[in-house]
Amino acid sequence: MADIRFTLNGKATAYAGSAVDRLLDVLRDEYRCTSVKCGCKEGECGACSVLIDGVLYNSCCVAMGAVEGASVVTMEGFRETKRFAALEKAFGEVSAVQCGFCIPGMVLAAEALLSKNPHPTEDEIREGLSGNLCRCTGYNAIVNAVNNAAKEGNGLW
């Protein structure tokens, strides 16, 4: 039987397991992409967010068969980009990271938002991050960080 072929963080790969396996589990267990966190396995927290063909998904709610031919990006890949550097700096300057568990997903949600809408309003930022739960920060610092990244990273998105 043919493997499931897809691109992970820019590298072509093939998965020989079941098409019904969760992308989340496969990323963590097979590919050791442990930046992808498991918070609920029900699509309710966003900790497992990844980009598939540039679009934000909860990887717990994606079956492996659905990524056939797609390009999957996790923080392991995104952290090598200039856009990440801008977000990293912005998050750092306002201390938007507390326990850190939601953060890789949160940063990818910010990337997904800014890549569609480079100059979002505060409401649009909150909407863009609304599927990513954070229990530590009350969200203000994260929203400010994304806003600052959008302003200072002018031209990156």
Binding site: K37, E88, S95, V97, Q98
Partner: protein
């Protein structure tokens, strides 16, 4: 802003934001067995037998018979078993752990275990529960006389529900047998030395037979104060039996149903009023402890000490008890018993004010404590009480008084508004003489030949920033760059016991030890040499000694103060409430890092608003928690309270580092009082007595009152 308060990029920022931090679930699985708990399916029963399916090679069944030492987890008492004894006492109580290399096989084996029960009648109704774990009484003045002489007596009952910590990373611990027999336990946790003590006793190996490391921890909020001791013991026993590393990471539903949460409460307040002033409070506090006592004693102590609020009440009588029910044991959660009683006292003050025809704020202001006044436990407020100024700050930030007056007028239409205010303290550090008698914190600094300095302490980074703020204090005092000072996650094999990461104590108590240690190191500093200095806790000399048997003396050396206002709008068609603004003024002394402290205030305040409004958890007639997932137990998203404004008021504490006081818990404590006051106003001046107050509750009032 003082130099020490200026924000820096946090030390753990880079690894966390890039996803490089290794949480306990992130270690490779090779050579590690997966552990899954076999749990009780009934709330109370004798366990007659467990039929275990045939186990493939490399798979293990671990239960109480495998515990080498004592099958009791040491918390405050030691009634919590590692694995159940003859009976199970709540749905979900661990009976055994199944271990093996393939998680799916382990799960299948676990589910194939047949447990034979002889069911017993569980106690589920808190009001009807008779078994008490703890029962305390204290007070002062002549309460009976005050009631006899009162113009009017108010008598109300207040109820609060569970609150789940909902840290984004579920509980998880791992145990690795080391060569030579020592057991290495690590995982998501707040208190490495608590786990250390508990595991040593359960393994019967003495303190040198175990060491405990705190892994990167995805949030705690109290939920990882005591619980990791239990899970740590379970994986340690399993690893001992299997002779291999064992890791157990909970799934979300398991975590929500079976790990400790905030105690539900029932508080009855009888209040005597004479000449428009409160003359006495007679308070009865009942906490639902769940099936084992865990931390209920100390949670209850903090709760009842706060019961009269921040008001001068000449005659006080408080009775508090923690009752056993056959439900998941409750435990620590940010605020630690105080949110329940502060809610009740804020509401009764509000209700009395309304009955007397005065505004709640004016009534509260007239009763405020001030410096030099006596505390509920006959201690003293040694330092200034900045509440009046903070009220003005809030008033300025949201036009509180004008809105309060405007919304008090009759409202019409689909949407109605209200605004409410609460004011409260959080006693910084352990209650009573705990720091002096029990914790006896020790902290060290080790300077290496290259001039870098390592902080050696046992307080865990759980998002609150100690990996940054501890080094900031040390670097500041040594006058060296911050990157020359570092603080790793504590491993009990190499750090002294500076106490647990609880009670908003780390920065105030341990931070001060580190400041003093840094001064000592500075005075002894020799370039190119390895040096170590140590500091031990000393109780401030102004303290009035506290006696827990009488609840007398200074329960806390100082207090962090807060004023909260919440403005909301309700939809009379749906009962939904929109928080238009949440305003908090918080005094935690000098912020050791402005952004870090602001982040604590904002995060804690939002948790408090959740507790007041949408975070509802309950159990059914069989004792099973119904709200066990993120779709059934709702916590606020980024869209729920966009207008959340926190400000810092600084009233320095001379015995904290640079004037810092305890911070972490404060911002959660008062939200329910402010929220419910606002809700009462939006609903046209009704009297409300429970939190959370959900859309369903709101619509029920609207329907009943014909609003």
């Amino acid at each position: 802003m003082e130099k020490i308060s200026q924000s820096v990029v946090k030390k753990d920022h880079a690894p966390k934001v890039s996803g490089r931090s290794v949480y306990v679930a992130d270690y490779p699985s090779e050579g590690v067995l997966c552990g899954k708990l076999l749990r009780a399916k009934v709330a109370r029963a004798k366990v007659l037998r467990v039929e275990v399916p045939e186990l493939p090679e490399g798979y293990f069944y671990v239960d109480a018979k495998d515990v080498p030492g004592d099958n009791n987890v040491n918390i405050v008492l030691d009634d919590t078993p590692v694995f159940c004894r003859e009976t199970v006492e709540y749905i979900g109580e661990p009976i055994a752990m199944l271990c093996g290399p393939d998680p799916k096989v382990v799960e299948r084996l676990r589910d194939a275990c047949k447990v034979e029960y002889e069911e017993l009648t569980p106690v589920l109704d808190l009001r009807a529960a008779t078994e008490q774990f703890f029962d305390y009484n204290f007070g002062h003045g002549d309460v009976d006389k005050a009631f006899a002489e009162a113009d009017k007596v108010y008598d109300e009952e207040f109820e609060t529900g569970y609150q789940e910590q909902a840290y984004l990373e579920t509980q998880g611990m791992m145990a690795e047998p080391e060569e030579g027999g020592r057991m290495f336990v690590h995982g998501s946790s707040q208190c490495a030395y608590y786990i250390h003590g508990a595991v040593a006793r359960v393994l019967g190996c003495g303190p040198s037979g175990v060491h405990v490391l705190q892994d990167v921890t995805g949030g705690g909020f109290g939920g990882k104060e005591a619980f990791p001791s239990i899970l740590g013991c379970q994986v340690a026993v399993a690893a001992r039996k299997c002779g291999k590393s064992v890791r157990c990471v909970f799934d979300r539903r398991e975590d929500m149903e079976y790990t400790s949460k905030r105690h539900p409460s029932l508080c009855r307040y009888r209040v005597a009023v004479k000449d428009g002033r409160v003359t006495a409070m007679d308070i009865d506090v009942i906490f639902n402890a769940g099936a084992y006592s865990t931390l209920s004693a100390v949670v209850l102590q903090r709760g009842i000490i706060a019961a009269p609020g921040i008001y001068n009440v000449p005659n006080v009588r408080v009775h508090g008890c923690a009752r056993k029910t056959n439900t998941s044991p409750c435990g620590a959660y940010r605020g630690f018993g105080a949110p329940q009683t502060f809610f009740a006292v804020e509401m009764i003050m509000d209700h009395i004010a309304r009955d007397l025809g005065v505004d709640s704020l004016a009534f509260k202001e007239a009763h405020l404590v001030k410096q030099g006044d006596t505390t509920s436990t006959c201690g003293k407020y040694h330092f200034p009480v900045p509440i009046p100024v903070m009220i003005d700050e809030i008033d300025k930030a949201c036009d509180y008084r004008a809105k309060r007056a405007a919304y008090a007028k009759p409202q019409t239409g689909r949407f109605r508004r209200g605004i409410g205010m609460s004011m409260y303290f959080h006693g910084a550090g352990f209650t009573g003489s705990g720091e002096r008698d029990l914790i006896k914190a020790v902290a060290k600094l080790r300077k290496y030949k290259d001039g870098t300095v390592e902080v050696l302490a046992s307080n865990g980074e759980i998002g609150q920033g100690v990996r940054t703020t501890f080094p900031k204090i040390v670097a500041h005092e040594l006058n060296i760059p911050l990157d020359k000072v570092y603080y790793s996650h504590p491993d009990t094999a190499r750090v002294p016991d500076s106490g647990p990461t609880v009670a908003s104590r780390s920065l105030m108590v341990v931070g001060e030890l580190l400041r003093r240690a840094a001064i000592k190191l500075r005075e002894q500093w020799v370039d190119g040499e390895e040096q170590e200095v140590e500091e031990r806790f000393k109780e401030p000399d102004f303290m009035i000694p506290f006696y827990i048997d009488k609840f007398e003396g200074d329960a806390y050396p100082t207090y962090a103060w807060a004023v909260n206002a919440i403005e909301l709008e309700i939809d009379t068609h749906t009962g939904l409430a929109k928080v238009l603004g949440a305003y908090g003024s918080f005094d935690v002394g000098t912020p050791i890092d402005y952004n870090v402290v602001l982040g604590q205030m904002e995060g804690g305040f939002l948790q408090g608003i959740g507790y007041a409004s949408i975070e509802k958890m309950d159990y059914d007639a069989k004792g099973r928690i119904r709200n066990n997932s993120f779709s059934d137990y709702l916590i606020p998203t980024a869209k729920d309270v966009p207008n959340l404004k926190c400000m810092l008021h600084v009233e320095k504490y001379p015995d904290g580092p640079y004037g810092a006081k305890g911070a972490g818990e404060l911002p959660l404590v008062g939200a329910p009082g402010a929220y419910l006051e606002a809700m009462e106003q939006a609903l046209g001046g009704v009297t409300l007595n429970h939190a959370p107050f959900t859309a369903e509750d709101t619509l029920a009032v609207i329907t009943k009152e014909g609003i």
